[in-house]
């Protein structure tokens, strides 16, 4: 019975469902949460969901990581390396944005004692 889960299609389906569920948790988070840190976390959740989605969909049953070792002498039967590279890049970027956002939040909290984004209304006419 577990063989059913060993097919590419079902793995993809699980990944899609899971990642999209995660994505919309983040989505719901950014739409409802007003705490800056929570909002940033929600963004990260969404990003993670996307990574999962992307990487997961490029996995097919039977493929291995794109690294040759002593056993595999050639680059065949391996998963696509580009998504992994792209995800790597995106992770770093997400990290950078998160760090920056937190530093903004810290500084803003120091000045005003608030971290509620819906109450940031000094900028108005």
């Amino acid at each position: 019975m577990l063989d059913f889960f060993n097919s590419t299609q079902s793995i993809h389906a699980i990944i899609i469902v899971g990642s999209m569920a995660l994505f919309f948790i983040g989505f719901y988070g950014i739409a409802t949460q007003k705490n800056l840190v929570k909002v940033l976390v929600s963004f990260d959740i969404m990003e993670s969901a996307l990574f999962l989605f992307f990487i997961g969909l490029h996995y097919k049953v039977g493929l291995v990581a794109p690294i040759v070792d002593d056993k595999t002498k050639t680059f065949t039967g391996m998963v696509d390396p580009v998504p992994q590279a792209m995800i790597l890049t995106t992770i770093v970027i997400g990290l950078a944005i998160l760090a920056l956002g937190l530093s903004f939040g810290i500084e803003y909290y120091k000045l005003t004692g608030r971290n509620d984004i819906s109450k940031m209304n000094e900028l108005r006419d």
């Binding site: 950014i30 739409a31 984004i117 819906s118 940031m120 209304n121 108005r124 006419d125």
Partner: protein, 591 residues
């Protein structure tokens, strides 16, 4: 400074004269836009009109200490107008038009009593005019594939009727705004009255004429009077189009006349008078007959002369006394006699009374109306003319006659010579046009030919000839002078002792002796009785200000409403983005 700019103002006149009539310059702006200057009889007429006006105004500016900026802007303005009237395509025309708009805006802003609201009014109406113009220009471009007057004119016939109509309406709206047709005149009065005093003369005498030039250009050159007749059909002996336009003009003229009478500020009265006079021109400009065009052109000339004269005169008085209201002026006749005579000549011309040029132009326009059997139009013009006597009298009485109403007027001196010289020249012109109305026929005829209309008959320099009656200006002028002198001589023969230079308070006043504190000047009381006349009151109590203020208010309210969206709640902004995405998603994916 003044002399330098005076010279600079003479130069274009010489330049134009040098070219004779064959000026044809073009300059490629881009591969699509070629700016071209072409001299047409119509353009030349308006060019000389504006250039000479500028020259005269510059002469009168000598006694004012004006900055170099001011003169430079004024020179720019005169060049812009030159560009407008010599333009051979619409881009050139529009460039000139816009430069005119903003250079005049900056000049007006240099006035001492201008406020932001009036400036806003001026520029917004000017821009609305310009935008309507550019809309019409690009629409005509979309059919003609060219901005050239000739090409657009040629392809106009092949456009669909609704486009033709839209074009005519848009062009007309634009030029009506400049000329200050009633309903679009909201800016005129404030601007004319608050602009620098001498510059008001330019605004009224020259800049409003650019609107008239535009109308001529559209009706005569671009569309063509023949085409208008085909497009709109005929009524009586004229065209439907001309009849509609005539009603607009007559309504403008009548309403503005009544409004003028009730004004207390001198320049506001002149501004309304300017609107009214331009109403006459607009009334006849659409007739598409020889007399209509000739009348409009003649009145353009006469109105330019008169308004220059009056505004310079008034500006001199305002500069001299520092007062600009009828309720503060009065009794200046023996302090500034030359000015008085000049103003007198001006108002006689303005009222259109016979010996002076004002009559000749009105006669031409009346003839046009008879020709087309537009009886009501003719009556409207006559009626408005009759009502205009009131404001003419108010002008001369309020400033020069009666009693001085504020201190310092008793000891005024005559205005400086620099103000008087242009006035004398203009008054002479007025007398000459009155005595030799036929001379102008030679100027008009090439323009009529340009519009492919029949030329005016020419029976001599003193005679204004028309199919429905003629008059001899020279005869009337000389008879008037002769009788005047004769009666003067006869009367002065009758020796009768009189107390000259008596006390001005020695008047019949119910048996009382008025003192200095008694209000004896009736000047600012003019027009109060008009309010009691139902028909006139109906005109006077309505104002376009209500409409435009409401428009401004509604704009402001909608602006407030819209700006509430931008209240800076980033959380809601996010939700909006997400909702927008969701909405588009559901719409996009499911369709």
């Amino acid at each position: 400074m003044n002399s330098i700019f005076l010279l600079l103002n003479i130069l274009p006149i010489l330049f134009l004269y040098q070219f004779g009539g064959d000026l044809h310059v073009s300059f490629s702006l881009t591969k699509d836009f070629t700016l071209s200057l072409i001299q047409t009889p119509l353009g030349t007429f308006f060019a000389y009109l504006s250039l000479i006006s500028f020259l005269l105004v510059t002469v009168s500016q000598k006694s004012k200490k004006l900055s170099c900026n001011y003169y430079a802007l004024q020179l720019l303005l005169s060049f812009a107008m030159l560009i407008i009237v010599l333009a051979g395509d619409f881009i050139t025309f529009f460039i000139g038009w816009e430069i005119m708009t903003w250079s005049s805006y900056f000049i007006i802003s240099k006035s001492n009593n201008i406020d932001i609201k009036s400036l806003q009014k001026y520029i917004l109406f000017s821009l609305a005019s310009a935008f309507s113009l550019i809309a019409a220009i690009v629409i005509s471009y979309s059919f003609a594939n060219s901005f050239d007057f000739a090409t657009i004119s040629a392809s106009f016939k092949s456009m669909p009727f609704d486009i033709q109509l839209t074009l005519i309406i848009l062009f007309s709206l634009s030029f009506f705004t400049k000329a200050g047709v009633i309903g679009l005149h909201y800016w005129v009065v404030d601007t004319y009255s608050k602009a620098p005093d001498l510059f008001s003369s330019i605004l009224s005498a020259v800049m409003s004429k650019m609107g008239i030039y535009g109308l001529f250009l559209i009706y005569g050159n671009i569309v063509g009077y023949q085409e208008l007749k085909i497009m709109f059909g005929t009524i009586l002996n004229g065209t439907d189009f001309g009849y509609t336009l005539a009603w607009i003009g007559v309504a403008t003229s009548i309403i503005a006349t009544f409004k003028a009478i009730t004004q207390d500020e001198v320049k506001r009265l002149l501004a309304y008078s300017s609107i009214a006079q331009l109403g006459y021109i607009i009334a006849v400009i659409g007739f598409g007959t020889t007399y209509g065009v000739a009348g409009a052109l003649y009145h353009t000339l006469i109105h330019t002369i008169i308004k220059l004269l009056l505004f310079i005169n008034v500006a001199a008085i305002i500069a001299q006394t520092g007062k600009n209201r009828f309720s503060e002026l009065g009794g200046l006749i023996y302090r500034t006699p030359v000015s008085f005579v000049m103003l007198l000549i001006g108002i006689i011309g303005l009222a259109g009374m016979p010996p002076l040029g004002g009559f000749a132009s009105k006669f031409m326009m009346y003839n046009a109306a008879i020709n087309t059997k537009f009886a009501l139009i003719l009556i409207g013009m006559l009626f408005s003319g009759a009502a205009s006597f009131l404001y003419c009298y108010k002008l001369v009485y309020g400033i020069y006659l009666g009693h001085p109403t504020s201190k310092g007027l008793e000891t005024q001196k005559e205005v400086p010579l620099s103000y008087l010289i242009p006035q004398i020249i203009l008054a002479l012109l007025l007398v000459l046009t009155g005595a030799f109305p036929g001379a102008f026929v030679k100027v008009i005829n090439p323009i009529l030919t340009q519009f492919s209309l029949k030329a005016l008959p020419y029976d001599g320099v003193g005679i204004m000839d028309s199919a429905v009656g003629n008059f001899n200006g020279l005869f009337i002028m000389s008879a008037f002078v002769a009788f005047f002198v004769l009666i003067l001589l006869l009367i002065s023969r009758i020796k009768s002792k009189a107390k000259n230079n008596i006390n001005r308070f020695d008047i019949s006043y119910c048996g009382e002796v008025p003192s200095k504190d008694t209000s004896l000047h009736y000047g600012f009381g003019f027009g109060t009785e008009l309010h009691r006349i139902k028909f006139v009151n109906a005109i006077l109590k309505r104002s376009t200000a209500t409409f435009y203020d409401a428009l401004a208010l509604q704009t402001k309210r909608s602006s407030e409403l819209l700006s509430r969206m931008y209240y800076g709640n980033i959380h809601n902004t996010m939700i909006i983005i997400l909702l927008f995405f969701s909405a588009l998603f559901f719409i996009g994916v499911n369709s």
